[in-house]
């Protein structure tokens, strides 16, 4: 009970800035699935602030346990496997936050997100960022960033892409981009409209996609 009440009264500042950006895109009362929901912070925030009907999928038992203790309904399992068992159009929004790069087939997961949801919100680390480019150019070694500090041989992040790659993939799959933005290292929006600059300056891409 104590742990719960500690978690109950979330303020906007309590969740990560990039998660807040996602939360702001979701309308009141939506049906939301968070794929790779971690300890359920975003879903809890959405449930309290936006009264959404929240569901989650999470690989780590600890994450599920913490989510359950927040009163959330979360399934433990592999995202790519578990999402395939949800019926078509069961959600208004499906969120894939910082997880795309860990999928064995990012293209298939995007299609799955849009099968079970009307819209998907996808955020991912941008390997087109100038620091990453510089790192590879100057050091000649696989970039290891602060937020993704695994060596290349043991990283769960097996499919990195750039913002440009992501936009191209959506195009190839016939997925419509409703909204897209680049985010800087402090989680702020980058105001450049240009894809070139976004891809150069953004540390993360954040996209709302739908079926065209």
């Amino acid at each position: 009970m104590n742990q719960k009440s500690k978690n109950m009264h979330h303020r906007a500042s309590d969740i990560r800035v990039d998660l807040l950006l996602i939360a702001n895109m979701i309308p009141e009362g939506a049906r939301v699935l968070d794929v790779g929901c971690g300890d359920g912070d975003l879903l809890e925030y959405l449930r309290q602030e936006k009264k959404v009907d929240a569901r989650g999928i999470e690989l780590s038992p600890e994450g599920v346990q913490q989510s359950v203790a927040k009163g959330l309904s979360v399934i433990q399992g592999n995202a790519e496997e578990e999402i395939s068992h949800f019926p078509d159009n069961s959600f208004d929004y499906v969120i894939l936050s910082q997880t795309l790069q860990a999928m064995s087939r990012p293209d298939r997961i995007l299609e799955e997100l849009l099968r079970v949801g009307k819209r998907a919100i996808v955020s991912f680390p941008n390997f087109g960022n100038w620091r990453v480019r510089l790192h590879l150019m100057l050091k000649g070694r696989m970039p290891v960033t602060k937020s993704l500090d695994y060596p290349w041989y043991s990283t769960p992040n097996i499919h990195f892409c750039t913002i440009r790659d992501f936009v191209d993939l959506c195009d190839e799959l016939g997925i419509k981009i409703e909204k897209g933005m680049a985010i800087n290292s402090t989680g702020g929006k980058i105001s450049f409209q240009s894809l070139l600059l976004s891809n150069f300056l953004g540390t993360q891409g954040l996209y709302v996609i739908t079926r065209s």
């Binding site: 009970m1 359950v68 399934i75 433990q76 068992h85 949800f86 019926p87 069961s90």
Partner: protein, 386 residues
């Protein structure tokens, strides 16, 4: 209704009530049982609006003594780390009820108890019962206690089958369901193991066609073998290897005989022998049969999805990695059917190497999940302290 008003606390209160005298229990088979006796134990205190009751459902050979000393065996109850003050099923907050199931042998109506019509034990005259009938008897107990809606129904293994039956067939009478290490139907393999056990009992000449109670004999050999076979299914290969390996029992070398050379043999024999003192052979036949007949989808054209349609119950489902009796895959089938109907369901596969019996062991992850789930739900639905 003493239990409803008094604080019976963590030590609990046990009694046997006679129910269904005017409202008989209609069994799945079509037979009618009236009256029935239900033995149960309870802990904590029912709150004013009777909204804090948790029903605990026991497994095949369990009983109502989930917490505290079992007066028959003298041993500690079977779920002492789940039920109690400050624990997951917190007796400071919830009123926790654990009934002995129909067909069993700890005071609830079953083959060992007297048939009210003849004044003698039922034996095989006791009607064949199902998981649904066990729940039917529990519904009568809950009615008797004046509880309309249970805050939660929790159980492992066969207890989980009762939980699922409650959630599917009495969905308006519970808020949350926690089936652990369970399944939605008995598989061919599950039935096969039970059949071995039943045949062992019935092949024992001391069974006397189920009327051993009229003799000085008891089918201890058969019941013991049944328990040994079943016990193997409750443990994992890994845990057996870790615990016993090929270690010899109190000897240096093989004896070239049929004595218990190996520790595992000695252990199994002990499990069998210690079981017969506390369990009735006919009850074992009836309860294993009830489990074999269990298929939650049967009344819904074999569709698990249909069974869960329109549910408002919130589920928290758990399985164990090393459980090969009721596997994670079976729990996931339940989870996926619930997801298909948009139900509120959480699921965790707990990494534990002790096999099916993990749910009865000291599993802190399971306790934490149950505790967090119940606390969050109690807060959300505004359950008041007693």
């Amino acid at each position: 209704m003493t239990v409803a008003t008094e604080n019976i606390g963590e030590d609990g209160f046990a009694e046997v009530v006679t129910l269904g005298e005017n409202d008989p229990l209609r069994l799945t088979s079509g037979e009618i049982l009236s009256p029935i006796k239900v033995a149960y134990k309870c802990w904590g205190k029912l709150n004013e609006d009777k909204s804090n009751a948790i029903l605990i459902c026991h497994a095949l050979t369990g009983d109502q003594y989930a917490r505290g000393q079992n007066p028959i065996t003298g041993k500690e109850g079977w779920w002492p780390k789940l039920i109690g003050p400050g624990l997951a099923a917190d007796t400071n907050k919830y009123f926790v009820i654990c009934p002995n199931v129909l067909g069993s042998c700890s005071g609830t109506s079953g083959p060992k108890e007297n048939n009210p019509e003849t004044g003698e034990p039922y034996g095989l005259d006791f009607p064949v019962i199902t998981i649904a009938d066990m729940v039917g008897a529990q519904v009568k107990l809950i009615d008797h206690l004046g509880i309309d809606v249970l805050f939660s129904v929790i159980g492992g293994s066969m207890g989980g089958m009762q939980v699922l039956h409650w959630a599917v067939n009495h969905k308006e009478r519970l808020n949350t369901a926690i089936p652990i290490a369970s399944t939605w139907r008995h598989s061919a393999q599950n039935i096969a193991f039970h059949e071995v056990g039943r045949q062992a009992i019935m092949a024992d000449p001391s069974w006397h066609g189920g009327r051993y109670f009229e003799t000085d004999e008891r089918p201890h050999a058969g019941l013991s073998v049944a328990r040994m076979a079943a016990h193997i299914t409750y443990m994992s290969e890994g845990s057996l290897t870790a615990k016993f390996g090929r270690n010899l029992q109190d000897r240096e070398k093989l004896t070239f005989g049929f004595d218990a050379d190996f520790q595992i043999e000695s252990y199994l024999r002990y499990q069998g022998i210690s079981f017969v003192d506390r369990f009735d052979a006919n009850s074992y036949l009836y309860i294993t049969r009830a489990m074999d007949y269990y298929d939650i989808s049967a009344d819904f054209d074999g569709s698990l999805t249909k069974a869960f349609e329109g549910t408002s119950v919130k589920y928290c489902i758990m399985s164990f990695t090393s459980d090969w009796l009721y596997t994670t895959a079976e729990s996931r089938e339940i989870v996926r059917a619930l997801n298909a109907v948009g139900a509120n369901v959480s699921f965790v596969e707990i990494d534990m190497d002790k096999g099916h019996d993990s749910f009865l062991l000291d599993c802190s992850e399971m306790f934490k999940i149950v505790s967090g789930f119940l606390a969050a739900e109690a807060q959300e639905s505004g359950i008041r302290l007693p």
